[in-house]
């Protein structure tokens, strides 16, 4: 009768070396202490804020749609039109860029150009882009429209390019074998394969653009964000609550509708 061990400890799963585990743990603790220490909390300000916070919660529970309805409806209309136009224009521009950024159908130099456009669009946050467009084109929805269009290009073109790179090569081969031109190749071999996903992506981007349109208004690029900013600056929490509820409702509707549409188109 052999004696079996009576102790067992779970072997470490992620970091195998004991020393590294200790170093990582100490590092994490030191970082947390330093990071938390760098947050200086002004308790009296927060105590003041508590009352305002409660007023905000109250405003959220009893939203006031009527007092500022004119501003709200203008902002909302601006946001929605901005979202729609920028999504459409963004897609129109991103289709050629997406095709150009697909390694299997584009020449090398076009590929390089298209990829750098995508990288620039993705690396710059909407807000920073919006600041620049507001500086160039003045306050208002047009700057917002350009911002969202620019952001849409990076998003759609990148995913479209990845899709095209993933297409079934044998189908492209078959079309090429018929002696088709480059445009015919795109039309017959590539388009049918990526179209369903492109539609799905467009609907998804519409969703995102609406959410973003609510934000870029803060730096003056039109839309409901500007209205919200004004309401908060005036401490009108009941109007702000109403605006937030409208945003949440529209996002939910858009999400539900686009999910439904995507399923329908499949």
């Amino acid at each position: 009768m052999t004696a079996y061990p009576t102790r067992w400890t779970r072997p470490p799963q992620l970091v195998k070396s004991r020393w590294w585990r200790i170093i990582l743990a100490i590092g994490a603790i030191v970082y947390l202490v330093l990071a938390v220490g760098s947050v200086d909390v002004n308790w009296t300000r927060i105590a003041d804020g508590w009352e305002r916070g409660m007023r905000f919660v109250g405003g959220f529970l009893q939203p006031d749609f009527t007092t500022r309805w004119k501003d709200i409806s203008t902002g909302l209309l601006e946001s929605l039109t901005m979202t729609f136009t920028s999504t459409v224009v963004g897609i129109l521009i991103s289709v050629p860029i997406g095709v150009g950024a697909a390694r299997n159908v584009a020449p090398r130099w076009i590929y390089a150009i298209c990829r750098s456009i995508i990288a620039a669009s993705r690396a710059l946050q909407e807000i920073i882009v919006a600041i620049f467009f507001v500086a160039l084109f003045g306050f208002g929805a047009f700057a917002g429209f350009l911002t969202l269009t620019f952001a849409t290009i990076g998003f759609i073109a990148k995913l479209l390019a990845e899709d095209i790179e993933d297409i079934d090569e044998s189908q492209a081969e078959a079309i090429r074998a018929t002696g088709a031109s480059w445009l015919q190749l795109i039309h017959y071999a590539v388009q049918p394969q990526v179209m369903p996903r492109l539609i799905g992506l467009s609907l998804y981007r519409f969703d995102i653009n609406f959410r973003e349109s609510a934000v870029i208004g803060i730096v003056g690029a039109g839309g409901i964000g500007g209205t919200l900013n004004t309401a908060l600056n005036r401490y009108e929490y009941d109007s702000a609550g109403a605006i937030l509820l409208i945003i949440i409702a529209i996002v939910m509707v858009a999400e539900y509708a686009s999910g439904h549409l995507r399923r329908l188109l499949k």
């Binding site: 052999t2 004696a3 079996y4 061990p5 009576t6 102790r7 067992w8 400890t9 779970r10 072997p11």
Partner: protein, 275 residues
């Protein structure tokens, strides 16, 4: 040891999975439960530890009426009943040892299982069982790194770690190749003999059942149509169980099997629901 009295299970859809099933299982007996797929084998096994809630009838485990137990008592009853599954049902991302130790969950308090500090006796038993099923070299491996036969051995060790008084075994060989199937069946039966453990093995392979079981129970459309020694399983008895060419019943049976599974899942979901 185990007494089943007029057990009946009717699913919500109105399908009768079990109709008035009764039998006794004495200590140390290995029963092979055969029948066409969907005859109610899976349902019967799951009614014994109430992963599926029976509609009527009784399950008596050493005179303890399992069917009437409350949540806490049911947990204490379940830990005495080991179960081995068709698709192994190991927690794939845990180590082999953790999977075996999970057989002790019904015995240890939460903090011990959470910190993986099981009592020394449990750990020694787990090592012994892994040695018994031939896996002492794989203690610290993750379950998803093992082959099918090895995983089923872990499943066996987990069930035995419970120190069960009864084993319920659901199609232990369905996902294994013929050679491994035999090895696994032999291992199960050997262990049952060593410990005098009674077992109900739900199995579709009649030859394996005849070879390894002490007794065969044949189910057909939820009813017991054969109950006797493996030697008595004649051509005529097999026709009674499987039907000459009764394909329609079989097809309906497949649907019922699926139902048993979904109900069992819904049930475990409901359990979790009360978390």
């Amino acid at each position: 040891m185990l007494r089943i009295q007029s057990l009946t299970k009717t699913y919500k859809t109105g399908d009768k999975a079990l109709v008035d099933v009764s039998f006794d299982l004495p200590k140390g007996q290995v029963v092979g439960l055969i029948g066409p797929s969907g005859a109610g084998k899976s349902t019967l096994i799951r009614c014994i530890n109430r992963l599926v809630e029976p509609t009527s009838g009784k399950v008596l485990l050493n005179d303890l009426d399992v069917t009437s137990l409350g949540t806490g008592e049911l947990r204490r009853a379940r830990r005495r009943i080991g179960m081995i599954f068709q698709e192994y049902a190991l927690v794939e991302r845990l180590t082999v040892m953790e999977n075996v130790l999970s057989g002790r969950l019904g015995y240890v308090p939460f903090w011990r299982s959470f910190t993986r500090r099981f009592p020394p006796a449990d750990i020694a038993r787990a090592f012994r069982l892994l040695d018994r099923v031939g896996l002492s070299a794989h203690v610290d491996k993750r379950a998803d790194a093992l082959s099918g036969g090895q995983r089923q051995r872990v499943g066996i060790a987990r069930a035995l770690e419970q120190e069960p008084e009864l084993l319920l075994i659901d199609e232990p060989t369905a996902s294994l190749d013929p050679k491994t199937s035999r090895q696994i069946m032999r291992l199960i039966v050997e262990i049952c003999r060593e410990d005098g453990l009674p077992a109900i093995i739900n199995i579709h392979d009649v030859v394996l059942a005849q070879q390894f079981a002490d007794r065969i129970i044949g189910l057909q459309a939820g009813r017991v149509v054969f109950d006797g020694a493996p030697a008595d399983l004649t051509e005529e008895a097999l026709t009674r169980i499987y039907g000459a060419e009764d394909w329609t019943a079989m097809r309906k049976g497949a649907a019922e099997d699926a139902e048993a599974e979904t109900e069992a899942r819904a049930h475990s979901e409901k359990l979790l629901g009360a978390l």
